[in-house]
């Protein structure tokens, strides 16, 4: 415990002496010196708070815009990458077939090679198996078409106004389709808010087999001519149909189509 000092009969200070020590000026100066700093005053928090809120809102908005554009960009990249992979694999397949044609004795091993690449080539396993069997029976090389035409891409306008997400050609999603409509200028459409930007096409014209990623929404004229000339209409598989949302710019993958031209 702290010891308390005790003083008996200490000399009393006179009032005049005590009052002579008054110094209101220095007290005032000290008060002014110790005044609240600016950051503690409410006036500071108004503008700073508003600025903070504005900054926060801006950052949040920028983030959401960035996210949307990144998502869109990524989707386009994925679509492009898949197209490239398909194209490369088709080219690879073509090379293998060419080699096998020039060296008939090596046909069997080359077929094996094709089987190895199969998982990469095609997402639709069933259609791919069908392809392999055709390749083995027919030594004709597959023709690769990459109809990337910017003008065609730009000129695309969806015709169908319905809001469904089913792609179609002249209103046909799957099944029989008149040949004239298949190769019409309308191409693959979905609804008024979606514009088909690319798709993958697999078909056998009887003369050639096509496996191509096509930019745009129309079946290339070359294939149409082949189909018309051969008159051998087998099922056409249209897969990986990418459509761009006109309002948001988002890329959607639509359901695959299988059409039987007549």
């Amino acid at each position: 415990m702290e010891k308390i000092k005790t003083i008996l009969d200490r000399e009393k200070l006179s009032s005049s002496y005590v009052n002579s020590k008054q110094d209101f000026k220095s007290v005032k100066e000290s008060v002014n010196f110790l005044k609240k700093p600016l950051w503690k005053s409410p006036l500071f928090y108004g503008p700073v708070g508003l600025a903070g809120i504005a900054l926060g809102v801006t950052i949040v908005n920028l983030d959401s815009v960035d996210e949307a554009s990144i998502n869109q960009f990524e989707e386009i990249k994925i679509a492009e990458h898949k197209s490239e992979v398909d194209l490369n694999n088709s080219v690879h397949l073509n090379q293998i077939l060419n080699e096998s044609k020039s060296k008939p004795e090596e046909l069997a091993p080359s077929s094996k090679k094709e089987t190895k690449v199969s998982p990469v080539i095609n997402d639709k396993k069933t259609s791919f198996k069908k392809e392999i069997s055709i390749v083995e029976s027919n030594p004709q090389p597959r023709r690769i078409i990459n109809a990337i035409d910017d003008d065609q891409y730009k000129s695309l306008t969806p015709v169908n106004t319905s809001k469904n997400m089913m792609p179609n050609i002249a209103g046909v999603f799957t099944g029989d389709i008149p040949f004239g409509k298949l190769c019409s200028d309308e191409g693959i459409v979905c609804n008024s808010s979606l514009k088909v930007v690319s798709f993958h096409l697999e078909c056998d014209t009887g003369r050639d087999q096509y496996g191509a990623t096509i930019k745009g929404n129309k079946i290339p004229l070359e294939i149409c001519e082949d189909l018309n000339a051969s008159n051998n209409f087998s099922t056409i598989f249209i897969t990986q149909i990418r459509a761009e949302d006109i309002s948001t710019g988002k890329i959607h993958t639509l359901s695959s189509m299988s059409l039987n031209p007549k």
């Binding site: 702290e2 010891k3 308390i4 000092k5 005790t6 003083i7 008996l8 009969d9 200490r10 200070l13 009032s15 005590v18 009052n19 020590k21 008054q22 110094d23 209101f24 220095s26 007290v27 005032k28 000290s30 008060v31 110790l34």
Partner: protein, 188 residues
């Protein structure tokens, strides 16, 4: 027992004081009259409880600086402005004790000791004076505070109550109990 009449103010005086406070709130320059009025009282309150005169003056200045800074927080509750200043002074004083700047001190006048011994119904001799002197330093802070204010500074129960923010009756009871405890120590 006589009490110090300085603290007591009439309603008119209290109202006049409120006018000064309102003016000081608007303009700190107008705090001057309040400073002059209470400077001595506050200084004596502080100096009573320490032995360093210069430090007592410093602490007194600190009290007024704080009062001016926090004047906007002051609310009139029917008690003199000085009770608010005393509370600031008490807080500043205890801060000085904590910072080891000042040492707790009891300043007693022989006259006060005599009055207390008389209250204990004992003989006023040097031995008893010395004994009482020792007993005071053994008291708890709260009890010593009550004894100082009531018996050495001659404050009324009303004033003690206002300074300590307790009722007048409570101040009466506490000071009585403090005296009882001092008596017990003295009679041992």
């Amino acid at each position: 027992m006589t009490v110090n009449p300085m603290y007591h103010q009439t309603n008119t005086r209290l109202e006049e004081e409120q006018v000064l406070i309102r003016e000081a709130k608007k303009d700190p320059e107008r705090f001057g009259p309040l400073y002059s009025k209470y400077y001595e009282q506050i200084f004596r309150y502080i100096y009573q409880r320490m032995d360093d005169q210069e430090l007592a003056f410093d602490i007194t200045s600190q009290v007024f600086i704080k009062a001016m800074k926090n004047l906007h927080k002051y609310e009139y509750r029917g008690v003199p402005f000085s009770s608010w200043l005393y509370r600031i002074a008490k807080s500043e004083l205890y801060q000085a004790y904590r910072d080891r700047k000042a040492r707790k001190t009891i300043n007693v006048e022989s006259m006060h000791l005599f009055e207390m011994i008389e209250e204990f119904e004992e003989n006023d001799n040097s031995l008893n004076k010395k004994k009482l002197f020792q007993c005071l330093s053994l008291l708890k802070d709260a009890d010593l505070q009550m004894i100082e204010m009531r018996y050495f500074e001659k404050r009324s129960y009303k004033e003690i109550g206002e300074i300590l923010e307790i009722s007048e009756n409570n101040a009466k009871v506490r000071s009585f109990r403090a005296l009882e405890r001092l008596k017990k120590l003295f009679m041992k």
